[in-house]
Symmetry: C2
Subunit: 597 residues, 2 copies
């Protein structure tokens, strides 16, 4: 008899081979499954440099804030579940910079929300910051600067999230276009800021030009030869190669196209119309809608929509796509481009003049449109909780402070601190901001239909601390501005969340207003408008640990204090990257411990 080793030798050897084969197959399967997983959820890396550059957004050369030499910045395209990693280097000379990923909720990464003084320190010139976040849901989004008025300076671009691989959109389309809308001033954003912060305040006025994908025409019109209101302008002499040449939508006949619309305007509320074509509205702010047909669509700053368009019209013609100003008395020509049936030359002008934008103050029209916006179903969109834990009422007023003009919420005009809230709250730095919570309501005596009785306001930077996972109602209450018989439209945008838009009403909100709430299929969005003299009721669940801005998306209004700050789940915030907090008290606090060389 040999040794046990020899005895066991042969059988082990044979069984080993079999085991090996089994293991190989198993490992291969794991590998394949891993590969499949990584296909489903991949990472997109972008290296960006922000700098000022000469550009002609509307035919007039100016200085814009561009990314990697382009205006607007590059489009980010990813699939739901993917990770986006933007390594952003600030190549400005003396200005900090941040980028906000509008509509991305930043679950688990509140430091990547890109709001200076709120989620992070501004990135200093010469420095690099890594924005790394998950895009958890398909939809039409965009990104933009969120420091001073750098959005007005041109810091924006598109962020499109497709459904995860293997998933389907609840509608079909053959092709798509992405239209990012903005407004443009010839006066620099720096000068605009100075004017707004001056005493007496100097208002920025209406934009000189509306831009579609960063392109507009100033001092000429693409549609000058029609005898319409724009006839005082000469016909644009455009080859198509200019930076300001229109972005033309080239389509095949008898197809369905998805047109993604997002508005990053500083000020303008817009309305889009497409000659001879109807639009089927299917998405708003990354959430599916009950599809509804419309001839024209209102889009406020901070909103996004997808519409489906059937190219069912006479293919021997081209058609106008027009964007005009709503909700403020317009002094800006429509933005125009061409829906070009490829059967024609793109330079063939449509038969009829561009669609006329509804009257700027036809609010009945606006409200009718807004009321059609409803969530698709509760398979894709969560149902609102039937009750709330806390209701905060936010009165929007225009005020004065030592001769400066401010916008205030419950008589507090937001003045951001030097230390980002995220750090102050996470680390309990009580000097970082006002520790008194701002008011949750306003006086019963206040008449929202009249200019403020006492126009004086205060500035502050307190935070609404929300119970983690609690259901919060916000009633945005509009009011008369400083001048008699004027109330403006404000699109409010919430960071870190979507909210259900439960309803709109006229005048001052009362408990009775709840009767109007749509609890069945309220749209789920991140931006909602308040109409003049009206209120808008929102509900959301405070389930995203972080500190979140909630503000009027009109950039000069935010600059004048029209916003609030919300915080929830402070103790659940994961470790914040140091580079997000190396300024203000967080910078100093850390350094006191560390500077022991």
């Amino acid at each position: 008899m040999g040794t046990p080793y020899t005895l066991l030798g042969e059988p082990f050897s044979r069984s080993f081979k079999a085991t090996l084969i089994v293991w190989c197959i198993f490992l291969l399967l794991i590998q394949c499954s891993l590969a499949a997983t990584s296909n489903k959820s991949s990472s997109h890396f972008y290296k960006w440099e922000v700098e000022y550059m000469y550009w002609s957004p509307d035919g007039l050369e100016n200085v814009v804030m561009g990314i990697n030499g382009k205006f607007p910045g590059p489009t980010i395209r990813a699939r739901a579940g993917d990770t986006v990693h933007v390594q952003l280097t600030n190549k400005l000379h003396t200005e900090g910079v941040v980028i906000h990923w509008h509509g991305i909720r930043q679950k688990g990464t509140p430091w990547a929300d890109g709001t200076a003084s709120i989620s992070q320190c501004a990135i200093n010139p010469g420095e690099t910051f890594d924005y790394r976040f998950t895009v958890d849901r398909a939809g039409t989004y965009f990104y933009h600067g969120h420091y001073g008025m750098q959005r007005s300076a041109g810091l924006y671009g598109s962020l499109i999230v497709d459904v995860a691989e293997g998933e389907k959109e609840p509608f079909h389309y053959d092709g798509e276009f992405d239209l990012l809308l903005s407004d443009w001033w010839h006066k620099s954003a720096h000068h605009q800021e100075v004017g707004l912060s001056s005493r007496p305040m100097r208002w920025i006025g209406e934009p000189q030009t509306l831009l579609i994908n960063g392109r507009g025409q100033y001092g000429c019109s693409l549609a000058a030869h029609y005898s319409n209101e724009q006839s005082s302008l000469s016909q644009c002499n455009v080859t198509g190669r200019e930076q300001w040449a229109p972005y033309i939508l080239r389509v095949d006949p008898n197809k369905t196209y998805r047109i993604r619309l997002s508005s990053t305007t500083a000020l303008a509320s817009l309305n889009v119309g497409i000659g001879n074509h109807k639009m089927l509205v299917v998405e708003a702010d990354g959430n599916y809608l009950q599809p509804f047909e419309t001839d024209d669509l209102d889009i406020y700053s901070g909103e996004s929509y997808s519409v489906l368009l059937k190219t069912s019209q006479d293919p021997s013609q081209n058609y106008w796509i027009s964007f005009g100003v709503r909700a403020r008395k317009p002094q800006t020509p429509q933005a125009l481009t061409i829906l070009n049936y490829k059967t024609n030359s793109a330079s063939k002008l449509p038969l009829s003049p561009p669609p006329v934008t509804p009257r700027w103050d036809d609010y009945a029209h606006s409200k009718a449109f807004t009321n059609k916006v409803k969530a698709l179903d509760h398979k894709t969109i969560p149902k609102p909780p039937s009750t709330y834990h806390r209701r905060i009422i936010l009165l929007n007023t225009q005020n004065k402070m030592d001769g400066y003009i401010k916008w205030s919420i419950n008589n507090v005009s937001l003045s951001l601190p030097a230390t980002p809230y995220l750090g102050s709250i996470r680390f309990g730095l009580k000097n970082g901001f006002d520790q008194t919570m701002p008011p949750e309501n306003f006086t019963a005596q206040y008449d929202v239909m009249k200019p403020p009785g006492n126009p004086n306001t205060t500035t502050g930077n307190g935070v609404y601390m929300l119970g983690y996972d609690s259901t919060v109602d916000v009633i945005l209450q509009n009011a008369n501005v400083l001048a008699e018989n004027v109330s403006e439209t404000h699109p409010w945008h919430l960071h870190g969340h979507d909210f259900w838009v439960l309803g709109y009403g006229e005048g001052r909100f009362t408990k009775d207003g709840e009767k109007k709430f749509n609890m069945k299929n309220p749209p789920y969005r991140n931006t909602a408008v308040i109409f003049p003299y009206g209120w808008t009721a929102l509900r959301f669940v405070a389930d995203n640990p972080g500190v979140w801005a909630f503000h009027c998306h009109i950039e000069p209004h935010l600059h004048m204090g029209m916003g609030v700050v919300l915080a929830e789940g402070a103790q659940r915030i994961p470790k914040i990257p140091n580079e997000a907090l190396s300024c203000g008290l967080t910078g100093k606090k850390f350094m006191r411990t560390g500077n022991n060389f």
Copy 2:
């Protein structure tokens, strides 16, 4: 017998009274002596806010960078030995800020030198930085922004240091005026920066207006009615209350006035002339000169002078004071103001037209003036060491890099790092900047009389590390620019030191040039000019622990890389306040240690 306490009671009580009186006198004496000391050396506290504001420096409204609502900023006035404490709050919206105290050597406080990326992190919006430093020597100084082109934006003011109490100036005067000179563009400093950093580069051009104490006249002239070159302009309609009304020098007859002149121009070299009056030059850059008389005085950016003026002329007349452009072909009208003998109305115009500025390219005139500038004596001004330990030769060239235009020193164009050198060097952070020392010389083959044979340059941010307390020679070598037959004038300014200007020469510096050195009474200054195609030899002692900029004081030239960085005595730098270093690697380094909540 009572207790010892009782026994000792009376005598103690009596002697106690006497002791008390003696002590009181003693304490009083101490207090008086302390009071005397504090009189001699006091502290001046200023609370400043930097912000943009509307202003009309030259009659055309524009946006300027002001301090506490004023342009130029407030004048600091102290005595030699005093402490100046400026608590600077950045009220800009998105830009960092620093202030450099030009001519103050910052002995023991290198972090207070106010150079972004060199001595400190830029102060972020909303944050406050404490500049606390000693003004150790009487003289005429000024302060200005030292980040991006914020000096061009208007961030400057005067800093005047009187002799310590009980001390005397080596000359007498009855009154004094302080004239801070600058140049002004209607295009914003932001836009200027973009143009300079663009490909192709867009030069800023000549200034629109020259300013005296922030006041100039654009589109009109104070002297339009004389049939001189300015006659194409209309007579200014000025009441005296305008922001752009001239700063008038009101004098009594038969007195001696000290006129302090400092130039914080972005570009212009200036020449001053005063109708019918001679000037006695007595001070340069805070150091006394051998007094010399002159009809006109050249002043380059970064320089300061004091001149004495005798009001010995016809007191029934007023006289022009004029500043015109030198060393560049002028396209800017003279800056004018009035020397007003109080015996007249200030609005009485002088009989003769303003003094004519010498031809811009009359370099013989410039050199003759410069050669008259000599140190007063070695009681007040130290004698230069007779030998040097190290001689660094710095070739000044205009170059190209990937189509960008740069200024380079020994073929390295300075590109400042994100982390301040002071921190990187103090704490040995090797990634903070290029660890290779920049070149000390240039090739023997280089022909300074011709455009660069190979115009390509590199960027870098290495440091000249100097032996502590060593004597360093710097030969600034001028050369032909990119265009044929052009060589420009550059005023070089050294931080943290004065240097002896040993001599000037033509063409390429050789060992022979040493023969021209003035070792007897070279002027001791912080700024010295290099003339076209010439060289300038400087000597200084590296006895001030810190990191110091040395650069062309023409702001767009520095912006295009025309500077070097020197460091000495790194191990002797006292503890740097944390707030100076909360950015870049120093911010991160400290935070890595500290962020352990």
